[in-house]
Assembly symmetry: C2
Homo-oligomer: 197 residues x 2
């Protein structure tokens, strides 16, 4: 059976490719920002926002390709119940990092799989990250040096690059930090015979 990743995120594609999973990637073209804001206005929990967005992306592709297995994913940053999205400007990136410094926040990475136009499996990965109490000057410099990369990341950091310098502790599966709960996804794909076990 064909697997479609309902995302064109580079890092998610890299994770599946490194694991040796055959797939094609299609952009789901869901208006994430509008949906996220609407859910926040309804006081949805951060983990439920991630789950809903992952499901919407999977469903959108599954409607066009019901015969395929479609994997939708989303990641939400949860700081004391508030949600941080991808920063739109360097100033917003600086503000996000100042909000996060000296504290522990959560990353929720949701995966939902559709088949025959129905959701058949879902998983929610959770990781907790503790940021050092860094100075304004350090964070400003980090944003200036890394803007082209961190603009695509919730919370304005990339742990797999210089962002590792921002943290004193990371508790949780690394794949979840990168935006896809890879091991449970691989487990499901193996159980269904999509990849050999």
């Amino acid at each position: 059976m064909k697997l479609i990743l309902a995302s064109t995120s580079q890092i998610r594609q890299q994770m599946l490719t490194a694991a040796g999973v055959p797939f094609t990637a299609h952009a789901a073209r869901v208006d994430e920002d509008t949906i996220r804001r609407a859910l926040q206005a309804e006081h949805a929990r951060p983990r439920d926002i991630a789950d809903t967005l992952a499901e919407m992306k999977a469903r959108k592709i599954a409607e066009r390709s019901p015969e395929a297995m479609v994997l939708g994913c989303d990641q939400v940053l949860d700081i004391q119940g508030d949600v941080l999205a991808k920063p739109e400007t360097p100033d917003e990136a600086r503000a996000q990092l100042r909000r996060l410094r000296g504290q522990t926040h959560k990353l929720w990475s949701a995966a939902v799989i559709y088949h025959d136009a129905k959701p058949v499996w879902r998983f929610m990965g959770e990781a907790r990250l503790t940021m050092r109490p860094l100075s304004d000057a350090y964070l400003d410099d980090y944003v200036t040096r890394n803007w082209d990369s961190i603009r695509h990341s919730v919370g304005a950091y990339k742990l797999e690059e210089q962002g590792s310098r921002l943290f004193s502790a990371v508790d949780g599966d690394y794949f979840t930090v990168l935006g896809l709960p890879l091991l449970p996804v691989l487990g499901y794909l193996g159980d269904r015979g999509i990849i050999p076990t």
Copy 2:
């Protein structure tokens, strides 16, 4: 101050480079296999073997460059108190993976820093990995496809490549899984002013 990594491991160099740490790498040329076997014969604990080897590598380079800060590292795989090293042949890789399947093992990643020919800091990272109960055929095929890469890894797998398919759970810091407790190392280097904070 100059930082020397007492290792030419590609993955450790990649982790430090990604974090933006300036360093040079030198091979410590310690006879690891002989030392490991001698320590095992003395019933040393796996975590102590990792610590001793990391310290020996750092000391060897520090004797030549006492003015530098020298980082020594070692990783040991601990399965019920037994130690698995890097496999020397594909048959040994298959035997290691059969030993690990269906069980949880530990990876100990030791880091020791020398300065002025003395050990000034040390850290022991711990991760726990649970391997699926895979078939002989699956493991044979994994070894055949990945031998050129996994021959350099204790336990004969690489989580960052197709090895992710072998596991149902990874509990612990990903950098520790890769062989270097990066976040504590970065914390120490920052405290000492080797990298900006």
